[in-house]
Symmetry: C2
Subunit: 106 residues, 2 copies
DNA sequence: AGCCAATACTTCGCCACTCGATATATGGTT
DNA sequence: AACCATATATCGAGTGGCGAAGTATTGGCT
């Protein structure tokens, strides 16, 4: 698996606490990133389709609220593995910059 | 500045030790990533142009070796700031996954 | 009652970027 | 002679991010 984009990473990370529907993922990612990551809707739903297609997430359940559908997604084992690997990659990459003589502390 | 792609990050990180020419950046990035990151030539020269255009790197000098040009790039202050910020972002992002109850240690 | 903000999902099209392929050239190794 | 590493440049295809537009409901404020 090659490196994951930031939106993809934050979508998976948002689902680690349990299933969420699309809009809630946007809110959760914003919250977890300290307000920095604001997933655009076009990014989210496209990424959700790709992630479901590759088995990293799955539809948990579909509710109907106010006559309109709401899809909850959950992270799969493969997805949890992938996001953990990505976190490791990022931690290692960060060390290239921070783990050098004269570098400012993290 | 929004999040940086992996190739961009590794190009900047490679230049933290001093000026390098294009091909040497590919080798250095591979070395620093433990063999994981292999910059494609098309990625490299495109990214080099963009980075120079946005002032994160600059042409250090141009040599002629064997009748053919060789351009050395160096990282600018803005570039060093940007790569440090990116390292911080990645370290923080990694903590979202690792800094949770039951998470495997980094 | 009327309006607006927030919630919620979908689709479209543009644009930026990655990457493999291709081209070109030299020097060292087998 | 063939091949590989070094070295740079460019093109085209494909992926993915993102803003916008569209649709629909609920709840609060005026």
């Amino acid at each position: 698996m090659r490196s994951m984009s930031e939106p993809t990473y934050f979508i998976l990370a948002a689902l680690l606490d349990g299933p969420l529907h699309g809009y809630a993922i946007i809110k959760r990612a914003e919250e977890q990133s300290g307000g920095r990551v604001r997933l655009a809707v076009g990014t989210l739903y496209g990424a959700l389709d790709r992630l479901a297609g590759s088995g990293l997430i799955a539809v948990d359940r579909e509710e109907t609220v106010g006559g309109r559908p709401r899809r909850y997604f959950r992270i799969t084992e493969d997805g949890a593995d992938a996001v953990t690997e990505e976190a490791q990659r990022m931690a290692r990459a960060a060390r290239i910059v921070f783990g050098r003589p004269g570098a400012a502390p993290a």
